[in-house]
Homo-oligomer: 401 residues x 2
Amino acid sequence: MTRTNGGVTAPKGFKASGIHAGIKAAPILDLALLVSDVEGPIAGVFTNNRIPAAPVILDRLHLKKPYGQAMIINSGNANACTGAQGLLDAEEMAILVAKRLDIPPTSVFVGSTGVIGPRLSMPAIRNGIPLLMQRLRKSGHRDAARAIMTTDTTMKEIAVHTRIGKHLVSIGGMAKGSGMIHPDMATMLAYITTDAAIHPTVLQALLREAVDSSFNTISVDGETSTNDTVLCLANGMAGNPMLQAQTGNAKIFQLALNHVCQTLAMKICQDGEGATKIVEILVRGAKKDHDAKQIAKTLATSPLVKTALFGEDPNWGRFMVAIGRSGPAIQPKHIEIAFENVTMVKNGQEVTPSKERQVQRVMKKKSYTISIKVGKGKGSSKVWTTDFSYDYVKINASYRS
Amino acid sequence: MTRTNGGVTAPKGFKASGIHAGIKAAPILDLALLVSDVEGPIAGVFTNNRIPAAPVILDRLHLKKPYGQAMIINSGNANACTGAQGLLDAEEMAILVAKRLDIPPTSVFVGSTGVIGPRLSMPAIRNGIPLLMQRLRKSGHRDAARAIMTTDTTMKEIAVHTRIGKHLVSIGGMAKGSGMIHPDMATMLAYITTDAAIHPTVLQALLREAVDSSFNTISVDGETSTNDTVLCLANGMAGNPMLQAQTGNAKIFQLALNHVCQTLAMKICQDGEGATKIVEILVRGAKKDHDAKQIAKTLATSPLVKTALFGEDPNWGRFMVAIGRSGPAIQPKHIEIAFENVTMVKNGQEVTPSKERQVQRVMKKKSYTISIKVGKGKGSSKVWTTDFSYDYVKINASYRS
């Protein structure tokens, strides 16, 4: 697998564009289009939130026939909590694109991100679509990736290619999201393209696997916003023999897809709202993986832990509090906590002589790992988290103003 | 029931004291003692945390014989995650007080609050106890209430009396805690005294009920620190006929006890770390009370909701996100959100014309109620929460330094 330049248009047969349609007040890009020359299998993973936004409801419906050819995504408005009208608006977005491309509306997938509640400005979208079509090109990936940003401070895209037999298969991706690892994250959207030939059920299984080891590692256990969406469209133009489940070729593709998803997830993590650090939390020794995940999640979302990370304060007691309240039965006397390779807590107590100074040095780093052993079981889990800074409060106290 | 001056020494037969023993570096009170002239029934409610501190383990043990006569509490050190040595230290505190008072060590209850991890300074405690004994007096309630404070900015105490038949029964209380309504709260301690004559099992049931409708309403569902403790000692010196379960007299006592606990809980809430507002969140229309509680809890602990409260931003979408991810099945189209008497969301959508301005006026208040209807069920729940301010991050990023 090789990293290449570009984004969602790196695979064969994809074009993209991004324009300012006027959904956002500021004169910045807010509408993106992504089109494949031919229809192909599409897979999707969506929010678990009980109040899904209109485009999520529409996409889930369209995915019942798992073939697609285009995606239209707006930023500036989430089209969430907008009732029946919101659904009609999302559907109209798909229909307008479908008409222009002369394809069925069910082949068009829709995404929205931004403020929850107000109705989408349909005049802006209707007026924008012709220009969006006109601008479609191979080099449009950057504009598309920019047009889906909200509080993001950086554009997020990636492309890789890998060999499957004698065929070069490419995967491209773009994402938006920031601060997503907080308990009720801002919307995370990711759009992945590939020219691989693959059956839709295989694609869905591989995407689910890739999402679990990437976006779900930072989003912490499916606590997702109303709009979260990951879609992967495979147009088959690489000409490889159809990828079959459980084969070596599928494995090669899985690794490349994982890399694309993990890279986008890390980019989102690095762009955490007000985050100054990224910390990996590894929990092991739990009875089950599920227990380990619950403990890791409690640590990753604890405001007291996150402010300690920001303060570079080796206040391991806060970790103990969070571990103790996370739910799973644990043996306090087996707990070990290490910051990188410095073990600060052993047998549930601080080691003597204290390693506080060494730990403080680790905590000054921008990125490091905290390993936590909670018992003698085989359950383990890994999550990424960020710190809680003054800026987090600042950004979120005034998001709409 | 009448509110009176005083605190834990308001009921007959109680004395208290507080001194600087040297557990804290600063020359402020850090060791408290509370003694009854006679032994009496004692009830306790403790943290659910899986890593209880040494004094919690000791108190639970002593409570197996539910009679007590004295409580010794230190601040500055939590005696948590201190292993077998921590247990021996907590036990020694009880033994030292017991010797001085010539009572069994099991009649002495111990509390600690402060930094987790380091061993308690036993020389400071050993040297402090004689002075603590010497200072014991009726007027010592203030010193005791001050000596248990950590990040608290205000001392928290209350006293009430009520008539049970022709007997005047008093209840007094002191508490410490601040920022407790955050997901992994700082330690909350509350010590309640009464001169009521009551059987220990009745006292335990009444205390549990009072805690559920007070401290557990702000602590949000038992997500507690390593040290949280509520103890209630009843010495019987009021001379009332023994309070029996399910009687009118027990009901009168319950109301007074609830008032004491609720007042202390509100004082803790008002002293939330960096909090600028107290907001009551009422959830109704859920299938079960448990569902309503889960939704209320998710809202009360959501950083995005809490920063919106701080920013006085009627960003109701954040409430929808939190409701949707909280777990229980809800009907998005039945959701209503009102700020005091201003309904902003109805049928899951913003009402037109928008009530944003009116809601903004409500949100400028220091304290207000947000009512949320999530369906047509009969389950309801109420929690108190505070906002998340810059100061919250500041206090918690530098707690130990």
